[in-house]
């Protein structure tokens, strides 16, 4: 996937900058590049859960490394989104143990309810569906991750409806 320019000026808020400085200070002198993965997570938390070229260039300047060192890392790891995603990114595990406990049923139910396919974002910008490999929740399958949380045992339509409704009301509360 090609990275996209956001066209926006990227700069951490003072609070995020404090957090960034604290992260950078964890490593021995001269080893500040170790902060790269945590800082890219911080960028996603601050700027809509994806990495634009501008934001990656910003991190390169912050760590005094070449932009390419950021791009190669950003595209290697599956948690970094190279395109904008919806308000809620639903990452469904489809690896063996989840698959034998109904991961494909969970995926098709979500597709039908949200009227989108995996990889797409719903028209209201609320949900994006993504397939991911094993999330270490094999005993609590089928499951998906949304932000901070794992939602496990999603083995019935009622539970899936409840989850989607909870997320929708969370969105309206925060607006």
């Amino acid at each position: 996937m090609l990275a996209v320019k956001s066209g926006k000026q990227v700069e951490f808020s003072p609070a995020a900058m404090d957090r960034a400085r604290e992260i950078i200070s964890r490593y021995p002198d001269g080893k500040q590049k170790s902060a790269l993965l945590p800082l890219l997570h911080l960028v996603q938390d601050e700027f809509g859960n994806w990495l634009s070229v501008d934001s990656m260039d910003y991190i390169a300047r912050l760590l005094h490394i070449q932009p390419i060192e950021v791009y190669e890392v950003a595209t290697f790891y599956s948690m970094y989104n190279m395109q904008p995603v919806g308000r809620f990114l639903l990452e469904i595990c489809h690896t063996g143990p989840c698959e034998i406990r109904g991961a494909e049923e969970l995926i098709s139910t979500l597709q039908n309810k949200l009227l989108i396919k995996v990889g797409e974002t719903s028209a209201d910008g609320m949900f994006t569906l993504k397939r991911v490999e094993c999330l270490a929740a094999c005993g609590y399958a089928p499951m998906l991750q949304c932000g901070m949380h794992y939602h496990e045992f999603l083995d019935s339509e009622e539970k899936i409806d409840r989850l989607l409704n909870d997320l929708r009301s969370k969105a309206t509360q925060n607006n």
Partner: protein
């Protein structure tokens, strides 16, 4: 009830917090160890017979004694909390419900290794666990168990929680170190081993969460006491994360040497097969280890009861045995399709291959495509032999063991379930209906 070493305090109300953990004997091993010589702590761990719980089962004390302390360079301890092997979800359980046990283990182990900066590399998806660990570290620091001059002994230690970002390969120890240095997770060629050239080029020990978490018990109770638990070659207890078509999926601490049959069918553990179905197969130690049909997981080829131990599970080699691995225990009932599961795992390894070695990069892709075509009714009989050939050419020909890990599930599935692959080629419709030709002998109902 069998012996509990890791989970004996898990049900104490509030054990997540420092105060409750401390009031129940927590951090006593730090007080004891810091009065010992670091190398004496290593000796205790050696005597315990503890083998690494991350999958490879390498003796922990021996690994520690390889650490280059003589050159006087900074030494690092890195805890592997990447937990991404399909079927494995045990480290998560420890870190979430008794986080101070890992912190305590990290302090004692870092002291033994004479490290002053140590890392816990946690897979990025475990976002809430990262918070739990950071809070536990802050609490331990306030109480004087971390930071400068711990308990007035002059020993300094900082503990950093590092976040991964979604890559199974970063569980491989040298890829993990690359990732911790802010790079792509590309495994390094060994030797040199991390004990000599590790993080930032310095001597480094990488250990699994569970390996580190048993160290406090060993220090308090002695290596000899630990060695008395379990079997002669498999000392101690092991966390097993059980999943698949069983009644009670979850994380269990077992004494090594427990019969496999008891683990699967007793109420204390898995509680038998769900929905009254019969058992078909088991992957006993995470997706990378060979799958075994029911008759071979319950009994060895020689007819002895198979036990949950390193030596019993590997009895018979890969012809009829498997491995304890990470303790990710996946049970398949009679409705599950071995071809589909093998394809699923092949897709996983293809997705997760870092791409450095052509046998792994290309071979995993080939296996995925061939299996996908068989699974979807487009396979030929010759594809089964081709599949066998491809996996043979990956095994042993790569930089890191991910190549082997990708080959073994395919090899074992063909070895033990060849008829099922043939059935899929001949009866493509049946295959797509998930209704398969089952060998009666591989199904046992245990009433």
């Amino acid at each position: 009830m069998s012996k509990k070493i890791l989970l004996d305090k898990i049900n104490i109300e509030g054990i997540k917090s420092f105060d409750v953990y401390r009031a129940n004997g927590g951090y006593a091993s730090v007080e004891k160890a810091l009065k010992m010589a670091p190398n004496d702590v290593i000796e205790e761990v050696k005597k315990s017979g503890l083998r690494g719980r991350g999958g490879a089962g390498f003796p922990t004390g021996m690994k520690w004694s390889f650490l280059d302390k003589k050159s006087g360079r900074p030494k690092y301890l890195v805890c592997n909390a990447d937990e991404s092997e399909p079927g494995t979800f045990k480290d998560r359980y420890l870190m979430e419900f008794i986080p101070h046990l890992l912190i305590e283990g990290m302090i004692v182990s870092s002291f033994a290794l004479e490290a002053n900066l140590s890392f816990i590399y946690v897979r990025g998806e475990f976002r809430w666990i990262i918070k739990i660990l950071e809070q536990a570290i802050a609490e331990a620091k306030r109480a004087g168990f971390l930071g400068k001059n711990i308990l007035g002994t002059g020993y300094d230690l900082e503990l950093v929680v590092q976040t991964g970002a979604g890559a199974y390969i970063c569980g491989e120890e040298t890829a993990l170190l690359e990732s911790l240095e802010g790079k792509r997770g590309l495994p390094r060629i060994k030797p040199p081993f991390p004990a000599v050239v590790g993080l930032y080029g310095m001597p480094t020990v990488v250990n699994n969460v569970e390996s580190i978490a048993v160290v406090p018990w060993i220090v308090l109770n002695s290596g000899e006491e630990y060695a008395k638990v379990g079997t002669a070659k498999s000392a101690g207890t092991k966390l097993i994360s059980a999943c698949g078509n069983i009644n009670k999926p979850g994380v269990y601490e077992i004494e090594l040497g427990l019969p496999v049959e008891e683990f699967i069918f007793s109420e204390e553990y898995c509680g038998g097969i769900a929905n009254g179905k019969r058992m078909k197969a088991v992957v006993a130690g995470g997706s990378s280890v060979p799958i075994l049909p029911t008759e071979l997981i319950l009994k060895t080829a020689a007819g002895e009861n198979r036990l949950m131990s390193y030596e019993s599970l590997s009895d018979g080699g890969f012809a009829t045995g498997t491995m304890l691995g990470s303790g990710g225990f996946i049970v398949y009932d009679e409705d599950q399709c071995i071809v589909r599961n093998t394809w699923n795992f092949a897709r996983f390894y293809h997705h997760e291959s870092c791409g450095q070695c052509s046998p792994c990069r290309e071979g995993t892709g080939w296996m995925e495509r061939i299996l996908h075509s068989i699974e979807n009714g487009h396979g030929k009989m010759s594809d089964i032999d081709l599949l066998w050939d491809v996996q043979r050419k990956i095994e042993g020909n790569t930089i890191c063991p991910l190549g082997d890990a990708a080959a073994w599930p395919v090899a074992s599935a063909i070895r033990h379930f060849r008829e099922e692959f043939e059935w899929h080629v001949m009866e493509p419709k049946e295959c797509m209906n998930r209704n398969y030709g089952l060998r009666e002998k591989s199904i046992m109902s245990i009433a």
